[in-house]
């Protein structure tokens, strides 16, 4: 390309970017909402949804009478548990069924005697598995608890179980999934805003006018990328700022790395939005497509809260097609573990690949509609 071609290219791209920017600024209310939305989502969802288990009601069936009492006291002393005494197992099961308690801790007869003489003894824990996540956490807590609870019974502890949590020492699940929320919403907004901005032109009939001007799809697409990329980028940092202010989110790794992956991720969303815009002429369809194709996979298949590794093989494979998954890992690895970008290329490169493919297919499809 010579100078003249470059300046002609830039002129057309900027013309589109400025026009798009005018549209965005003209609709003040939507623009403000767009800017506030990430903050709102982070704070609202961050406080409302928590995976921490608090005030778990637990039934204790104490058949031993000695160790049971001690354990019970310990449990009552913690803020996590609320203890209910039950005289026999059937009654405990009844409470569990009705949802009054989430677990039953059964301390069998001769528990302390066995423990005293052999150093081994069994207690059984029955957990309501219908809330799978809570169940797992209760089990973790109680295992930890039981180990510590019996120091007093034996003079020296049999074997110390130590679990040390790296990277999120307080095990605050908010720190784990608030960045995930940001990722999911930033992506959805980038896709939907871009797709709608192009589909709206088709609906208004302005697209037809653009077709007769000497612009090419690449001008239209590049011109539209700029403003939406900017907005998505700003949105991301608004979200991160809120996560820091409200939940003490901390980035152990490099901010530059965070900025780079955020830019890449938003670009990926913008390009996907363009691709979707070539599939339909209706705003409603564009909106639905954006929602279905980004929100659901981002929530379910991105390791946001549901580990994809433990899903059936086919679904795990499909989850590798979800760009949010790559970003989710990048964001966590950089912010929590402080991993440098060059060790994360296995996440960065696929994200780049998706962006490139979306852009390419969008341009191709638009070209076909454009000329012939």
């Amino acid at each position: 390309m010579n100078n003249k071609q470059i300046s002609s290219f830039l002129s057309k791209v900027l013309t589109f970017a400025i026009k798009e920017w005018n549209h965005i600024l003209r609709d003040r209310r939507s623009f403000l909402l767009t800017l506030i939305f990430p903050a709102f989502i982070v704070v609202f969802l961050g406080y409302a949804v928590t995976l921490d288990v608090n005030r778990v009601r637990i039934a204790v069936l104490d058949e031993d009478g000695v160790a049971g009492r001690q354990l019970e006291k310990k449990l009552e002393g913690s803020t996590t548990f609320e203890v209910v005494q039950v005289p026999n197992l059937p009654e405990g099961i009844e409470l569990l069924k009705e949802g009054h308690v989430q677990a039953i801790l059964q301390v069998p007869r001769a528990f302390s005697k066995n423990l005293f003489f052999t150093g081994k003894s069994i207690i059984s824990l029955i957990v309501d598995g219908s809330d799978n996540n809570a169940a797992r956490i209760i089990m973790g807590y109680l295992a930890d608890f039981a180990g510590k609870g019996f120091y007093a019974v034996r003079h020296s502890p049999p074997r110390k179980t130590t679990v040390k949590y790296l990277f999120n020492p307080a095990l605050d699940t908010r720190l784990f999934f608030v960045p995930g929320i940001i990722a999911i919403f930033i992506f959805m907004m980038a896709v939907a805003m871009t797709a709608l901005s192009i589909v709206r032109e088709k609906e208004q009939g302005t697209f037809e006018n653009i077709l007769v001007t000497p612009v090419r799809p690449i001008h239209i697409l590049t011109g539209k990328v700029i403003p939406y990329l900017l907005i998505g980028f700003v949105n991301f940092f608004t979200g991160i700022l809120c996560a820091y202010l409200f939940f003490g989110f901390h980035v152990y790794g490099s901010w530059v790395a965070i900025a780079i992956i955020a830019l890449l991720f938003v670009a990926c969303g913008v390009c996907l939005g363009m691709l979707l815009s070539t599939l339909t002429k209706s705003s409603l369809v564009a909106w639905l497509l954006s929602f279905i194709l980004t929100f659901l996979p981002s929530v379910i298949l991105s390791d946001f809260v549901f580990p994809t590794r433990s899903m059936p093989g086919v679904i795990t494979a499909v989850s590798w097609l979800v760009p949010t998954k790559y970003f989710m890992h990048l964001l966590r690895d950089i912010s929590m573990k402080g991993a440098p970008l060059d060790q994360l290329l296995h996440y960065v490169l696929p994200l780049m690949g998706f962006t490139f493919i979306f852009m390419l297919v969008a341009t191709r499809r638009m070209k076909r509609a454009h000329a012939w």
């Binding site: 002129s11 005018n22 549209h23 006018n209 001007t213 012939w372």
Partner: protein, 318 residues
């Protein structure tokens, strides 16, 4: 007529959408500076024809040429030659008049200073400058129409396509709009216009009548009026038009009757003078006050007749 004089040439232009033949083997030429009017009922294929000529819709068959450029082969190359005002105007309602015009000006003119100058020039020319900072959505029909025209001519195209530019616009604005079009034609711009208004058709140098995708008539308004109806046209005044239509409809020599206010136009299918026959029929029904006179067909009469004939032909073929 020199060959180089021809700005638009269509040969056997055809567009199919599945089973529907939207434009069927249409051929015509338009000279430089001519005002060509394409008419036809809804769905006749007018917009489809324009979109093929503008290079945004690929013809199924046929050839189109604008200013010597093969549109079918190199649609990109005609873009600087043509301006296009689409049927729905396609304005950005949330942008101001200036922003709308400037957007198109900049797409065509890389130098933004020149683009701004040109935008001002166009606003001046179409008297839009007092609305420069008004958003397009707030404009009334007539001004929207002017804005759409302004957006289409920022690059001074020698050929201009206007798809129903006056639809839904008041008569005075329509009149003023046509004056602008004539000025442009006088400057040598070739104009290709579609319309539903017969008085606008009368103002074109050449008109084409599309009927179900076929070009059913082509020529100057005078020529079309003289040659398209092989029989006679009669005007009947002075009595209730509805009764006249009821009386005459279905008579063997009557092809078409149509009502225009208090008048009825009757088109016959025989060349002989039937003034007295019509009068007899009306008298028989007690319509003694009827004034019957042979008349020159209007463009509308011609199109009514053509539509009638075509529909009959189809019926007979079936």
């Amino acid at each position: 007529m020199a060959r180089s004089d021809i700005t638009i040439r269509a040969e056997g232009l055809t567009k199919r959408f599945g089973n529907l033949v939207a434009v069927d083997d249409v051929s015509f030429t338009v000279r430089q500076g001519e005002v060509f009017g394409l008419l036809g009922p809804n769905g006749a294929g007018k917009s489809t024809t324009i979109r093929m000529l503008c290079g945004i819709l690929k013809p199924t068959a046929g050839y189109a040429e604008i200013a010597g450029i093969n549109v079918v082969k190199t649609p990109e190359q005609v873009k600087r030659t043509i301006g296009y005002m689409s049927q729905r105007f396609g304005l950005y309602d949330d942008l101001t008049v200036r922003e709308n015009i400037l957007f198109y000006a900049r797409l065509y003119i890389g130098n933004w200073k020149k683009a701004a100058e040109r935008a001002n020039e166009v606003m001046e020319k179409l008297e839009l400058h007092s609305y420069a900072n008004t958003t397009a959505g707030q404009l009334s029909g007539g001004w929207r129409q002017r804005l759409a025209l302004a957006c289409a001519i920022t690059h001074k195209p020698p050929v201009l396509f206007l798809d129903e530019p006056t639809a839904g616009v008041d008569p005075l604005s329509r009149r003023m709009f046509w004056d602008i079009l004539y000025d442009m034609a006088a400057e040598g711009v070739t104009l290709f216009v579609t319309t539903h208004y017969m008085e606008e058709a009368e103002r074109c140098d050449t008109i084409g009548f599309l009927w179900h995708g076929k070009l059913a008539a082509l020529g100057s308004p005078e020529k079309i009026k003289k040659t398209s109806i092989p029989a006679g046209v009669y005007t009947i005044k002075g009595v209730s038009p509805a009764e006249v239509v009821n009386t005459l409809k279905g008579l063997p020599f009557v092809a078409e009757t149509s009502q225009y206010g208090s008048e009825v136009h009757v088109i016959t299918n025989i060349p002989e003078d039937v003034t007295h026959k019509i009068r007899e029929q009306l008298m028989a029904m007690g319509l003694n006050q009827a004034r019957v006179a042979p008349s020159v067909p209007s463009i509308e009469d011609v199109f009514m007749y053509i539509s009638h004939e075509k529909a009959n032909n189809i019926k007979q073929n079936e």
